[in-house]
Subunit: 398 residues, 2 copies
């Protein structure tokens, strides 16, 4: 009964509301973050900005669980991925790009522009196989190994700690795309030996899009300093390090987005990182259990629960519905979700649970999904509510 | 008398106000632009963003006075400068970098990372000498020529049309940094043969920092397509062109800044480009006449009035004052101005009149400057007000 009245309240609450972003970035941005962003622009060579930047970096160090240097780039996660590769890699050097999804492929594309990129590919939806990684690292002896921690395109979480150990045992530099994991999942950057770890502002941190941040280890700095190639200018990490002495950026930063990120990080501190990670894990599990309980199947083919992403759920499209239809039907109900990309386009749809997403947001999404499936004749009348009930079982244990 | 009562009103109005940004970017951002920026974040693969982006590009085409393609990058003006060079230049190719200030040097630094950069340097504060440009272009036969239109570091406006003619007569590609001129001064991109022209969001367009835009001519596209080098990824212009078919960007854009830029461009349309240019010219002239009338001298050594920047005024520091003192004293009075950079650090200070700056802002700034100089014993009691009077003479003719 409680569940039912909660549903009614949600149904009432929904009318006239803003579109709810359940996409894997950009995510819903809380009003207090929007307010912080819309304060008058401050000057980026003054003390206010220096304080803001320093506080951002200190907060990020806690979330990255690192003692490494951290910088914020005025560019998306892709900008930070290129910053890592462009600063580290010489033209003759091998970069082993572990790939089991679109963003793994992106690293390969970027590395192909800077060094000799070697792709180690796994089936999309399967987690990275650690023993194959070991074999490839030993065979190719790459200078740099790249991996995507949380593969947003397939909803798979890759084994960062195991891969980090292999990379370090082979004296390579480990670049880890944590764009959609840091701030929502446990990413102890130092412990897992990520020499460069990358996060995006518009994912689990809950800030608007436009910024990325990356951490740089001592070993990465040594490699960057020894790299004689002509490096990209806008993302020259040595310039970022030099400017950081004055708590500045080398070029004009996207100041309002820094103010927004600052507020988003304050929210994370208030919630507490552990609580935040638990919330992400719970809400992702709630989505998984909900969709399974209404007859849908998850896209990832994994042996262990821990290989599921805790921030985005990839679901096989039910027979008879295209992803365009699914997105349009959900949108009519006030929810933005996304389809599949590249190889899995037309096969899956995805629901993200990133950032300041709430149980309420998940209920709204599942309810809308049930409604769509019912209207399409995919879900029978007596099956309705099973998704919400499953989600509530998981969430009530939060 | 009217001037005096206006001054009193201004003095009263000043108390408790926000700091007024009279820096050459970021500039003061109007509340309606801040409001537009702080709307809930929209999804960047949906129709709302597509419409927003298309309207932005169409508005920019009018302001650039061009039929060329235009793209918006989620990165500062430096990002767009690198996009131009990184897409155009092969490693063996010569880039002639015309330089008479810090930003001319920046082009040289960027070009040095991509091709064979040749600097053609002029004294800081002097405009570019057209006959020397002709001689250098004929001597070096560069593939690409770069110039800064409005050299923010020195307050000099360079002869873009003349240089453009020389570059085109020699079959080279002309890359023009209009970061601090477009939107404030007359920059007919097609007429002056700028193959790539660049603007920053946080200058004369009056938007917050974080975005830049650039136009690409047919000739530039041909050169980019023929360029076999491995291009930068984040700023790959061919990817931008492809994504623009769907009115999207290749990677997640800084969405709130797009919303802000959209509103800033609407303000430009409401004002009218001609009026806006006239306002910029008048306010810069008002600053020049004001500072001269209170015994200060302008930094640029130019023969013609038209070689002064219409968006930023560089002024020699009066004897006995450091630039740190000048900035601090102005700041105490609520105004952010800037000092000199690099070669002219400690020699000059600069007052910008960019974006949605008003006559009132100029009066406040000049009044504060008079106050500083009076307190320092540089301006005598009976000389006070001369700056305001001079500014008012210019502005009243607006």
């Amino acid at each position: 009964m409680e569940a039912k009245s909660a549903r009614n309240a949600r149904a009432r609450g929904r009318e006239g509301e803003e579109l709810l972003l359940m996409a894997p970035g950009p995510v819903k941005v809380l009003p207090r973050i929007l307010d912080a962003m819309s304060k008058p622009v401050i000057y980026h060579r003054g003390s206010e900005f220096a304080e803001l930047y320093e506080e951002i970096v200190n907060a990020l160090k806690e979330i990255f669980q690192t003692e490494n240097d951290i910088f914020v780039l005025s560019g998306s996660g892709t900008c930070a991925m290129e910053a890592a590769i462009g600063n580290l890699v010489q033209e003759s050097e091998k970069v082993l790009c572990i790939s089991n999804g679109k963003f793994g492929e992106r690293f390969f594309e970027i590395a192909s522009r800077y060094g000799e990129a070697v792709a180690l590919r796994f089936e999309w939806g399967r987690p990275v196989d650690v023993s194959a990684v070991r074999a490839a690292v030993e065979e190719h002896e790459p200078a740099v190994v790249t991996m995507v921690h949380n593969e947003t395109s397939t909803g798979v979480l890759n084994p960062a700690a195991e891969v980090g150990r292999i990379v370090k045992a082979n004296d390579a530099i480990f670049v880890l795309d944590c764009i959609t994991s840091i701030g929502g999942d446990d990413v102890p950057v130092d412990k897992i030996h990520a020499d460069i770890a990358i996060v995006g502002s518009q994912k689990c941190l809950g800030a608007p899009p436009g910024l990325s941040a990356l951490s740089v280890s001592e070993e990465a700095w040594e490699k960057i300093a020894a790299n004689k190639r002509r490096k990209p200018y806008y993302m020259d990490l040595l310039a970022f390090r030099k400017s950081f002495e004055k708590r500045q950026t080398p070029y004009t930063p996207a100041i309002p987005l820094f103010a927004a990120l600052h507020e988003a990080l304050r929210i994370i501190q208030e919630e507490g990182l552990r609580n935040r990670i638990r919330r992400h894990r719970t809400l992702a599990k709630a989505v998984r259990e909900a969709v399974k309980s209404i007859g849908l199947s998850l896209f990832p083919k994994v042996e262990s629960e821990s290989a599921y992403s805790n921030t985005v759920t990839a679901i096989n499209l039910p027979e008879g519905m295209t992803d365009a239809e699914m997105k349009a039907e959900m949108r009519k109900r006030g929810i933005i979700i996304v389809g599949g990309q590249d190889k899995v386009k037309g096969k899956i749809f995805r629901i993200a649970t990133m950032g300041n997403v709430t149980a309420e947001d998940v209920f709204r999404t599942i309810e809308a999904l049930e409604d769509v499936l019912f209207e399409r004749g995919i879900l029978r009348s007596k099956e309705r509510g099973a998704g919400i009930d499953a989600a509530e079982r998981i969430i009530s244990a939060l």
